[in-house]
Symmetry: C2
Subunit: 152 residues, 2 copies
Amino acid sequence: MTDLDDIDRRLVAALAEDAAQSAGALGRRFGLSQPAAWRRIRRLEEAGVLTGRRVDLDLEKLGFGVTVFLGVKLATKGRVSLEDFERAVTAIPEVQTVQHVLGLYDYRLRVVARDLTDFERVLRRRIMTLPGVGDFEANVLLSEERRPGPLG
Amino acid sequence: MTDLDDIDRRLVAALAEDAAQSAGALGRRFGLSQPAAWRRIRRLEEAGVLTGRRVDLDLEKLGFGVTVFLGVKLATKGRVSLEDFERAVTAIPEVQTVQHVLGLYDYRLRVVARDLTDFERVLRRRIMTLPGVGDFEANVLLSEERRPGPLG
DNA sequence: CTTGAAAAGAACTGCCT
DNA sequence: AGGCAGTTCTTTTCAAG
């Protein structure tokens, strides 16, 4: 864990909420000049605390109306199985996120599709043919709310 | 779904990868002038396709070494139960994401904690005391990989 | 749609406390 | 570490084709 003071934490929380804020505006909010705020943000990037900037998308407006979470249990475990599975699953374009987890399932996948018909195609032709897949379980996303988290 | 051409889709994909790219640089990549690329990005924001800009954080470097996914099944369902649960769960600072889903569970939560001891505290004092919680299931995150998705 | 220009603002640098 | 002043770059708006 990196050594951060209170202002650093507040900068991180503010940028996690909205990364379009300028260093000058953030500086005014937290009692810093524009270069001081900018240098702190730069240090946070160099320290690897801030790892990149992304845009949030409305997937429905892009034609992807269905998001499904899949819990996947591998039939055969072991180093080779994990690597084979990960290599194959990351090649599926509809898979947005691959999470290696501990618990009832071995992997959690976030899968997007145009509609349920399209999702069935992905499931049958892509997911179920993955190497080493045993049991799996699906949850269809109805709505999602992101919260500031324990920083803000 | 909004009406987007091929260049719009490529701009969205590029910004989803790295939102720190300037309109001029994106324009050069896709054969547009700087103002043309800038206007397209602005239209995508106004159309609600791009909904905001966020920074990616290294939660470990911020002192949150544990991420757990919780599948929660409600004991009593109905409009009031859902609203009560959602109101209570969004008040827990450690809960980063609340997903209402269809399937074996009713909700999926992304929870962050400093360590497993801290997670146990959140689980026992915050999650298990939520109104209407029935069964639940936990997956501890080991590693996570995000992919460009079906746009890129 | 494009180019070119101009103004505003944000990012970045060097120097000083 | 912070602030000030100045420079460079991007963003933003405009005129015109």
